[in-house]
Symmetry: D2
Subunit: 485 residues, 4 copies
C-alpha cells in the first residue's frame, strides 16, 4: 500500500483500506451505539455544552467499531480528532472507512507492516504546522513513546548535533522508530518539542502502557500529565476480565474452528486477562492449567479448580496455549518444538514478544503454512509436526476476531472520555502535574451506573441512617480506595 495521505471531499486527511466499506461500517457503528450506553450518555450529558470545543485529540487505539463510537463521542463533544491503530492487525477496515468518511482523520488498516504502522502513528500526531495534539488517547503507549523519544532525540541533536542511530538497537521495531525520528530531524528539529509543549496530557488504556508511564514517572522523564484509565475498576475488572472471557473463545473459533471442550488448555498468567481466559476455556469444557509467578494469583486459580504447573510440565500434552502475562519470553521456540501436532499457540496479553516469534521465524528449516490470514501452521523439520500460531503472536482477539464487545468497551471508553474531559477542563489550573493519576472513585462508580439501565438492573438506595452507619455518603463513593472488588 503506497503511503500517500488521501483527502475526503471536505478536505480531511485519511488513509484506510477501502472507503467503499464505509456504509457497512456505519451500520455496525449504529448497532454498537445501542450497546454502548456510557458513551451515548456522555453525548447526551455533555454534547450541548461542547466542552472539547477547540481541542485537538490524537488517538492511538485499535481502530474498531467500538473505537468509532468513542471517536464520534469525542467529536460530538466538540473535539477535532486524528486516529491511528495501536496494533497492526486490529483495525476493522469498515470502521476505519466510516470514521474517515464521516468524522475524523484516520490512518489505519488491518495488516499494516511495522513501517506502515509507525507512519500511521506519525500521521495521527501531525496536526500540521501549528504543532501537535492537545490531548492523546493512548493504548499501549506508542504515541506517548514516539513523542518522548522524539523529544529526547531533538534535545540531543540540539546539544550535540547527533541523530539517533537505528543500528544501535537489536529491536527491529525500535529501529523503525529511530529511523522516523532521525529522518524527521532533517526537516523539522523541533517538531516533538513543540508537541510536548502544546500537550495537555494523555489518558492511557492498558496495563502495559500504564507500566511504561509509571516507569517514566519514577525516572522523572514523563513530559506531561497522564491519567491511568486502565486501573479504573470499570476498566481493568471489566474489559480485561469479561472482555477477554468473551473474545478469547471468539478468536479461537474464528481462527481455527477447534472444539474447545475436552481439550487441555494452558493459560500463562492469572491476572485479570488470564482470569477471563481461564474462565472462558473452563466453561467451554476445556481442562485448564495455569502458569503463574505470583503465589496469590496461583492460589486463586487453585480455588477455582484449576491446576497450577509450569509450562515445562505440560508443554507436550496440552492442546491450546494462551499467554496473558504482559511479560516477554513466555513461550519459547524450544517449548513449541515439544508441543503436540497442531497445538494452538496464541497471545492475548499485549505484545507479540510473549511468544518467541523471532525464535520461531528463524528456526532452521521451519516451514510456515498460512491457512488463512492470521492463522499460520509452522512445521518443524525434525518432527514434520506443526503448531498453529494465531495473529503472528499479536493480540489474537483483535487479530483473529473483532476484539472485545461493545458493551464492555463502553465502560472502558467512558472512562477515556471522562479522563479527557478532566484533563482538558483542568488544563490551566495546574491540578495535574507531570505524573500519573487515576480517576476518583465517584467517577468510576458513575461509569458503572451508566451501564446498569441497559441490563435492566435496579440499584438499592441507602437510607441516611444506613449511610451514616457505614460512614459513606448516600450518593457514594461507597468503598475505600484500597477496595479490591
Amino acid at each position: 500500500m503506497a503511503l500517500l495521505v488521501e483527502k475526503t471531499t471536505s478536505g480531511r486527511e485519511y488513509k484506510v483500506k477501502d472507503m467503499s466499506q464505509a456504509d457497512f461500517g456505519r451500520l455496525e457503528i449504529e448497532l454498537a451505539e445501542v450497546e454502548m450506553p456510557g458513551l451515548m450518555s456522555c453525548r447526551t450529558e455533555f454534547g450541548p455544552s461542547q466542552p472539547f470545543k477547540g481541542a485537538r485529540i490524537t488517538g492511538s487505539l485499535h481502530m474498531t467499531i467500538q473505537t468509532a463510537v468513542l471517536i464520534e463521542t469525542l467529536t460530538a463533544l466538540g473535539a477535532e480528532v486524528r486516529w491511528c491503530s495501536c496494533n497492526i492487525f486490529s483495525t476493522q477496515d469498515h470502521a476505519a472507512a466510516a470514521i474517515a468518511r464521516d468524522s475524523a482523520a484516520v490512518f489505519a488498516w488491518k495488516g499494516e507492516t511495522l513501517q506502515e504502522y509507525w507512519w500511521c502513528t506519525e500521521r495521527a500526531l501531525d496536526w500540521g504546522p501549528g504543532g501537535g495534539p492537545d490531548l492523546i488517547v493512548d493504548d499501549g503507549g506508542d504515541a506517548t513513546l514516539l513523542i518522548h523519544e522524539g523529544v529526547k532525540a531533538e534535545e540531543e541533536f540540539e546539544k550535540s548535533g547527533k541523530v539517533p542511530d537505528p543500528s544501535s538497537t537489536d529491536n527491529s521495531e525500535f529501529q523503525i522508530v529511530l529511523t522516523i525520528i532521525r529522518d524527521g530531524l532533517k526537516t523539522d528539529p523541533k517538531k516533538y518539542t513543540r508537541m510536548k509543549e502544546r500537550l495537555v496530557g494523555v489518558s492511557e488504556e492498558t496495563t502495559t502502557g500504564v507500566k511504561r508511564l509509571y516507569q517514566m514517572q519514577a525516572n522523572g522523564t514523563l513530559l506531561f500529565p497522564a491519567i491511568n484509565v486502565n486501573d479504573s475498576v470499570t476498566k481493568s475488572k471489566f474489559d480485561n476480565l469479561y472482555g477477554c472471557r468473551h473474545s478469547l473463545p471468539d478468536g479461537l473459533m474464528r481462527a481455527t474452528d477447534v472444539m474447545i471442550a475436552g481439550k487441555v488448555a494452558v493459560v500463562c498468567g492469572y491476572g485479570d486477562v488470564g482470569k477471563g481466559c481461564a474462565a472462558a476455556l473452563k466453561q467451554a469444557g476445556a481442562r485448564v492449567i495455569v502458569t503463574e509467578i505470583d503465589p496469590i494469583c496461583a492460589l486463586q486459580a487453585l480455588m477455582e479448580g484449576l491446576q497450577v504447573l509450569t509450562l515445562e510440565d505440560v508443554v507436550s500434552e496440552a492442546d491450546i496455549f494462551v499467554t496473558t502475562t504482559g511479560n516477554k519470553d513466555i513461550i519459547m521456540v524450544d517449548h513449541m518444538k515439544k508441543m503436540k501436532n497442531n497445538a494452538i499457540v496464541c497471545n492475548i496479553g499485549h505484545f507479540d514478544n510473549e511468544i518467541d516469534m523471532q525464535g520461531l521465524e528463524t528456526y532452521p528449516g521451519v516451514k510456515r503454512i498460512t491457512i488463512k490470514p492470521q492463522t499460520d501452521r509452522w512445521v518443524f523439520p525434525e518432527t514434520k509436526t506443526g503448531i498453529i500460531v494465531l495473529a503472528e503472536g499479536r493480540l489474537m482477539n483483535l487479530g483473529c476476531a473483532t476484539g472485545h464487545p461493545s458493551f464492555v468497551m463502553s465502560c472502558s471508553f467512558t472512562n477515556q472520555v471522562i479522563a479527557q474531559l478532566e484533563l482538558w477542563k483542568e488544563k490551566s489550573t495546574g491540578k495535574y502535574k507531570k505524573e500519573v493519576y487515576v480517576l476518583p472513585k465517584h467517577l468510576d462508580e458513575k461509569v458503572a451506573a451508566l451501564h446498569l439501565g441497559k441490563l435492566g438492573a435496579k440499584l438499592t438506595k441507602l437510607s441516611k441512617d444506613q449511610a451514616d452507619y457505614i460512614s459513606v455518603p448516600i450518593e457514594g463513593p461507597y468503598k475505600p480506595p484500597h477496595y479490591r472488588y
Copy 2:
C-alpha cells in the same frame, strides 16, 4: 448463478462457488483430520479391504470442512460419492471446492436460492442413466423426501396420467419440489422408481429427519431401510448438546459481536440442542429463560437454575431469542413487534419455520437492512425500532459461523460411516426391512472409544468378577437399551 454442471479435468461433475478456494479448503481439511479421530480410524481399519468398492453414495448434508472429511472417508473405503448441502447457507465454499477438485461430485454453495437448492439435490441423486445411488447419507431428509415424492408422483402418473400440481400447496418450497418432479416426469417417468429399486438404504443424521422416517414407517410408506443415526448416544447426546454449546455463541459473535454477559436470553425448547444453547449462554454470563412444553424438560431447566416462562411473559425484556424446538411457529411476527430495539432472533433448531419469517417479510411497512450477509435488521414502521434476525431464520450456527466443530462431528460422522457400512454389508441378507433402525449399543460405545485417545483419557477395565457381578460382558456393551446417559 447459472445452473450449469461443470466438470473437472478427470471428468467428474460439480457446481461450486469458486474452485480457486480448493487449496484453502484442503488446508482446513487437513487440520480437521487431526480433530476427527473416529473417521481417521475408520480409514485405517477399513481402508485396506475397500468395503464400499462398487457402492454409489449420495449425500445431502451441510457441505462443510467436517463433511469433507466424511466424504473422503467414504471414498477412502472405496465408494463413489455425489454430494449436495441440506441447507442453503451452510456450505463452506472452500470445502466444496476442495472436494469437487479432489474427491467427489459436489453441488453446493453458500447462499443458494431454494430453486438452486433443489436443483443441487437432484444433481446429487442423479447418477446418470444407470439409476440412482446405492446408499444415501441424509440430513433432515430432503433427499429421502424427493425420492418418496418422486415415486408417489410416478405411480400416480402411471395409474392416472396425472402430474403433480405445484399450486396445490401453500408451501413455496414444496411448490419447487413438485415442479421438479413434474418436469422430470416428462422426460423420464420412471426415474425415481428406478432409484428406489436400486437403493439399499439411507442413514439419517438429525432429529427432524428421523421424525419424518418414523412417520413414514408408521404410515407404511417407507420405501427402503433407514438407520437412525441421530439417536446413537454418540450423536444426539454429543453433537446436539456439545456441538450447539460451541456453535451457538460462535454464531452470535460472528454475526453480531454482541456481548453475551449481562443479557437476558430466551431459549425456546430444552431438548439436547436447547440444553447446549442454554449452557453456553449461562456460562457466557447471560441470564437464561427457557420456554418448554414438556414438564420433564422444564424441571431439568429449573434444576440448573434457569427460569421457565412463556415467550409472552418475557418477549419485551429479553435481548436474545434462540429457537431449538424442532417445531414451527415458535416466534411469530407479533412477538417480534414487541421486542426491544436490536433484540437478536435466531434459530438453531432445524427449519426456518421456527421463526415466522413469512410473517416478518410480509409485515406491512417493515424494512430490511442487511448489515452483512446472514445478519439483517428488520425495522417495524410503528416503532422505528428493529430486531436482528440471523441467517434468515435458518440454522444460525451454519449460516453465521461454521457449524459444529470437527471433534464432535467426528462422533456423528463415524456413526454415519458405520451405518453405511452396515447397510451395504447386509444389502442382500434381508437383515434390514423397510423400517427404521438404530445402531446396536456396542457400535455406539465403539464410536466413543475411538475418540478417547485424542483427549488423553484412559478407561478402566472390568475384572471378570466385576463384570459378572453387574452382568455385563467385560468388553461391553455396558448399559441396558433404555439407559439415558
Copy 3:
C-alpha cells in the same frame, strides 16, 4: 438395643431409638411437606376416594423425614403401613419416632447392626397370622430378596426337608439372611409362601434393586409383578443426579468440614450419580478426575472438562475419592495404602462393597480411630498415615448427612405412590404379569408437572397445529420412549 417390639397406646407396633424425638420429627415433616408438592398433590387428588382402603403396604426404604411424608401420603390414601429402613445408617431417628407415634409401624434406627437390620426387615414384612403385605415399596431389593429366598427355602424344605445352611456362604450378611429363614422354618414353614401368594407387587426405587429384578425376570424366578420406579425419568435423572449433587458435598462437609476448593477429587463412575457428584465437586472448586469403564460416559466426562484416568494413575495424589459405580471392589485396601495422609474415601453408589471394607478391617496392624460416628480415620502401620472413611463405606449422604433433599425426593416418591396405585388398581385385571414394568411416559410427565408450580415455572402450550406438526397429543406425552433427556 434389645430386639423387643413395642406398642403405641393405640396398639401399633414399633421399634425406634427414642420416642421423645417425635415432636421434633413432626416439625421437620411439616417443613418437608411444603417442599414435596408431588406427594401433597397426591393427597389432594386421591385422598378423598381412599384408593388404598384395605391395602397393606410394607416399605423397606431409608426411614428419613422425606420417607415420612411418603408414608403419610400412603396412609392418607387409605393404606395400612409397616416400615423398615434399607440401610443401617440412614434412619433419621426423629422421623422414625414421629411416624411410629402417629402413622405407621416402624422398625428402624440409625446405627443398626446387620442382625438388627434384618430383624427389622422381617418385622416390617410380618403382618401377623393373616400373612404378609399386599404391596411392597422396596429400595435396593432387600424385602424382595428375603421373600424370594424364603420361598426358595420353603420349597426346598417341603421337597427334601433340607434347611438353609448359613455356613454355605462367605458373605456374612447373607449368612444372617439364611439364619433368619432357617429359624423361621421351624415355626412356620409356609410363611413366605403365603406372603408371595398375597403379594400384588413391588415397586422398586434404585438402580441396584432394579438390576436384581431384571435378573430374576431373565431367570424366570420373579414371584410377583414389579414396577421399576428407578427408570422413570423423574426419578433417575433427578434424584440420582440432582439429589447427589446436593447431598455429596453435604455429607463431606458434615463428616469432615474439609475445604473442597483446591482439592483433587476422584469420582469412580460417571452415571447419573457420578455426574451429580462430579458436578458438585467441580462447582465447589475441586479438580475432578473420573474413572469409567464405559467409553460413552467417559467421553461425556471429557466434554465437561473432567480428566478420565484409572484409579491407579491418581491414587497417590488425590484428596477425595467417591465411588458411584454400583459395582464392587472399586477401591481396594491396596489402593488405600497408597493414598495421601487424610485422604477421604466414601461411597454414594449403593452397597458398601464398592470400597474394600473387609480388606481394610482385616489389614494387619491397621488402627481405627473414630473421630465421630460415621467418620473414621484408619491408620496403616507401615506409614503411620491414615485415610478417612465415611459411613463405614455405606451411603455417605445418608450416613453422614440427611440424604437427598425433600424436593427431589418428592419426584421420586410421587412415582412410588403412582406405581403403588397402579399395582393396586390392576390387582385383579391381570394387566401386570410376573415381570418388570416402567411407568408410562404420561405419568412421568405428570410427576414433573406437579413440581413446577412450587418453583414458579410456567409451561408453554402447544397449539393444535403445532401438536399435529410434530405428531404428539397436545397434552403429551411429548417424547418417544427412547428419548434420553
Copy 4:
C-alpha cells in the same frame, strides 16, 4: 450456666460447656492441622526461636477447631493465651474443651447469652493484677471496643466522677457493655487504662472491625496500633469469598436440608462475601438475584448472569434471603411479612442487625417455633404462614454449621500470626503508631506461597531478564499496591 471460672489441674482458668469433649476436639484439631499448612509452617519456621516468649495474647475470635490451631500456633511460638469467642453461637464446644484442657485459658461456649458473652470477653482480657494482654487478636472489634469504652469511662470518671449510664442507649447489647464497665469502675477505676498502657497492638480479622478501627483513626481516638488483617489479599479475597462459598450452603443444608436447586435466592450485597454466596447458590442450581447500592458491584453481578433488583421487587417470590452487606436494616419485619411460606432468612454479613430481629421478635402476635437450635420458624398472625430464620440473625455459617473450612482459615490465620509477630517484634521501635496498617505485600505473597504445596501447585520462576522487563524483583512482590486481584 453459672458464671464461675474453673481451673485445670495445672491451674489454668477456663469456662467451657463440657470438658469431656476435649478428646473429640483434639482429634478434629489434628485433622485440621493437616489442612492448615500456613500455620504449621509458622510453627516450623518460628517455633525454635520462641519469638512470643513472655507475650500475653488475648483473642476474641470464634472458638472453633480452626481457631484452636491458631491458638496452639501462638503458644508453640512461646505466647501465653486467653481466648473468648466473638459470637454467641460460633463456639465449637469440643474445640473449646481441647484448648482449655491443653493449651490456653478459654471462656466460650455455643449459645451464650449476651450477658455471658461480655463476661467471657472481660475474662479473656483480664490477666490478673499485672494488667491486661500485650497483644489482641480481634474479630469484629469487641475486645478493642471494650477497652476503648473502658478507658473513656475511666477518664470521665477521673475527671467528673461520672459513671456510664446503661439507660443512655437503646441498644440492649451496648447497655450490657456499659454495665460491665460501670461495675468495674467501683473495684478498679484504672483497669482499662492500665490495659491500654501495656498493649502493644491489635490485629483485626474482619471488614466490620476494620471499619471501626479506621473510624477511630479518623477521629483520633485509636489507643494503640492496629494491623488490618482483613485487607490482606490472602484474607479478604480468600476467606470472605471462598470461605463463604463453602460455608453458606453448608449452613443452609445443616439448618434446613432444603434443596437449593430450583429456588430463587436473594443475596443482599455483592462484596467479597456476597460474591462467594452468590457463586455457591448459582452453582447449586438456584436462580440468584442480587441487591446492591454500589453500581460497580452491581455491574459485576450482571456480568455473572445475576439479576440486580431491589429487595422490594422480589420479596414475595424468593425462597432464600441472605444478607452480606455489613450494614444494618437490610431485611425488615415488613419485608418478612410479605415473604412466601417457609422462606429462609439468614445473615452471613457480620452483625445480627442486618436482619430486623428486634422488629420480628416484637411483632404483635408473632409465634416462634424452634425446629432445632438455631433454626426457628416465625409465624405471622395475619397469614399463619411462617419464615425460617437461621441463627437468630447472627452468622449462619458459624451458628448453623462450623464456619469456614480449615484450609482457607489457614490463610487468614497465618496473616494473624504474622501480624502478631510484627507488632511484637517492633514493640519498642516506634515503627507502628496509633494507626491502622496493612501487612506489606511480600508477606501477603508469602502466606499464599505457604499454601501452594498442599494443593500440588508449582510456581513459575521469573528469569532475571523477565523480572527487569516488568520491573519487579525476581522474588517479588510482583504487583503494585493498588492491584486488585
